[in-house]
Symmetry: C2
């Protein structure tokens, strides 16, 4: 099935907000095998919205809209939809009750503008929104479907997963079972990997597809099977996964759709290892990535962000002489930081970073983007000196991903 | 002037990559007073790209495109543009030299596919790309302009700031000087603020505009002046800024276009204060936000991410009895964490958090989203118990912003 996403909101077109909704929606639709042909972002303007709807319904089977459903006067999506589909606004008692419950649960009172949230076009099916006040609206025209959802990410996600995607699949008679299996691969570029897997791809059964999803430091390989016999599909996917393991061996570092931090977490749990980090230039971002994973408290004890040299000395016990002789951005320092935090927190493993994120602080020998990274497991430490290009933010991001991968490599070795 | 952004790439329409380019570009264009009417994201498909170009050139004065310029065969933007503007491909010696220099600087060798980066349509002006290999291409048709840029954020940003925006302004005869002044306001909602500023807005000189840019925890107020006399504009903006200070008083917590962490940094520098953080549920994200600001090493010494109770005891010296009696997510614990890290790192100020980010770990008394936050300056500590809704990621984000704002409030008090 072909879909288009329409995103509505002035705040997106002045660059105040980054649209994360459409990528999330596209990933979910891709997951059930539906194509997103286009994403169009328009202002809170009747004509722009109407043109976008018209064009989308001409091109695709289903249109998914987010945004423009707030209670303020600049949110005009609802009346525009009502006019487009030739309806009248009506007051929906059940939506009102839901909004009332939502407000009561937060100790808030309803007012006139929130009462308007219960006004809906009489030409749509209202889908309840259990986690917010804006209703989800389902319109049909000539067999095609348009669904309007709130722009608040959490509300949109609950609606998409719980109601919209299942309803769309039913509406369009898409009853196939879909199975996914994701393997995380490192030490390979996307093009190198596709060369190694040429023969594998040729022998793949028709109902199984292979997708390459490269991200910094790794490639996600995703097998997708589609059909009506779930047991058969599962055994087919298992067999193909075994083949991939045979071909790629240790380059597959995780089985499952994880982030790098999530994959490391699985590995730590499996070995019953614990982890602490000592961060200078990454400034807490490694700890943040690790703790962004639910359940990370089972293996992560904590981090020392040692931004100043005093903290490297006093808390992580890096000797002053080492800092003086080699500098903070050096192999000996980063190695001692990894040891220091491992001892301080009593963990099996540790990660340490020290570098120059920029834009200032670079020298000819150690230019901006130079980052020393250490990964330690038991008594073994590996270190690496990386050189990243780009902005401060980018250097921090890349150093974070590389540090997590280095510990995965060390544990897998 | 009216613009449209076209973003090209399959990776965006399967949700593998979040498009951050268009928001950044929209903010830059908005900054010089240009409107972005629409953002359209399409696949690496000739027909989809051609339709998008056609439609955009019918609607606006200038079209800005990113992506689809890589050396691999799925990147087809260049031939599509060449065909659309009726040209032929030619080999550009100066682009080749630049790509060669770029590779040499990284110790890499050119190959056949990278050589293709120097093929450009003979109907465009090539704008040098000093930080990458894909050329920036400027096309004109019936007085309108289309600029194609690489999708790599760093390359696009360098091109936009250094070349594309100045050239666009010259091309369309936009010679005005533009001055911005941003004030950060807390304790006010967007609608509350616009009520308070009704009279102020009415008396604003024609050449000055006021914009409200709300983000979690604060509203950015931005004055924009446009005209040909820079000295006059500056004095007009100064006068209006003074009026805003008179009306809003201490609700203005920073003067300048900062993030919350950046505004806190300014304040710390001004008072010659130093800062450390002790984070449980925010897991290093506060430290990350602080260190994402260039120059933060002048006031930030570091952080203890105390994810486990042992670290709260052993490193931050929160007594075991307090943890047992009140729990880790409690006022006494978070207060002692703030004291502990202040002492450990020898700083003037500190921030501490302890909460339940979810999805597990909630109880009826302390549901998921409960976060205790402490901000400390000298001998004074303020604490707050917050209740955030939404996903784990969202709870961490909101707690981070609130914690930074609490310290700003405390210092300003």
């Amino acid at each position: 099935m072909k879909t288009e996403i329409i995103v509505i909101g002035d705040e997106l077109l002045i660059g105040q907000v980054i649209d994360t909704n459409s990528a999330w929606m596209a990933a979910e639709l891709n997951h059930v095998g539906w194509d997103v042909c286009r994403v169009v972002t328009v202002r809170d303007e009747a004509q722009a919205i109407t043109e976008a709807i018209e064009s989308a319904l001409n091109h695709v089977d289903a249109v998914l809209m987010t945004g423009g459903l707030g209670p303020t006067s600049d949110d005009i999506t609802k009346p525009v939809l009502c006019r487009y589909f030739g309806g009248k606004m009506r007051f929906d008692e059940s939506v009102y009750k839901q909004v009332e419950r939502y407000f009561a649960g937060r100790g808030l009172k309803m007012n006139e503008s929130t009462r308007h949230q219960a006004d809906v076009p009489d030409v749509c099916t209202v889908i309840p929104n259990p986690v917010g006040t804006a209703p989800v609206m389902w319109f049909e025209k000539d067999g095609k479907v348009l669904v309007s959802m709130p722009g608040v990410p959490h509300e949109m996600r609950v609606a998409m997963k719980g109601e919209v995607i299942p309803r769309l699949r039913r509406h369009f008679g898409d009853h196939d079972t879909i199975l996914h299996r994701t393997l995380l691969v490192y030490h390979n570029t996307e093009s190198g990997l596709s060369e190694r897997l040429q023969d594998f791809e040729r022998q793949l059964p028709d109902r199984i597809k292979l997708a390459y999803l490269p991200t910094p430091g790794m490639v996600r390989l995703r097998l997708t099977a589609r059909g009506d016999d779930e047991t058969l599909l599962a055994s087919l996917v298992d067999a193909q996964t075994d083949k991939l393991h045979e071909i790629l061996g240790n380059d597959i570092f995780a089985d499952g759709d994880h982030t790098i931090a999530g994959a490391l977490g699985m590995q730590l749990l499996q070995h019953q290892y614990t982890l602490a980090t000592a961060e200078s230039c990454t400034g807490g971002n490694i700890a943040h990535e690790i703790t962004d994973v639910a359940g990370s408290s089972r293996y992560f004890t904590g981090s020392v962000v040692a931004y100043s040299n005093e903290i490297k000395q006093n808390v992580l016990h890096v000797p002053a002489e080492v800092l003086q002789q080699h500098g903070a951005v050096s192999q000996p320092t980063v190695e001692l930081m990894a040891r220091g935090v491992q001892q301080l927190m009593g963990t099996t493993c540790s990660i340490a970073t020290s570098g120059i994120a920029g834009p200032d602080g670079g020298t000819p020998e150690k230019p901006v983007g130079t980052v020393w990274i250490a990964a330690r497991c038991g008594d073994t430490t590996v270190t690496e000196c990386c050189q990243f290009g780009g902005s401060r933010h980018y250097v921090i991001e890349r150093a974070t991903q590389r540090a997590l991968l280095m510990l995965i490599e060390l544990i897998n070795h």
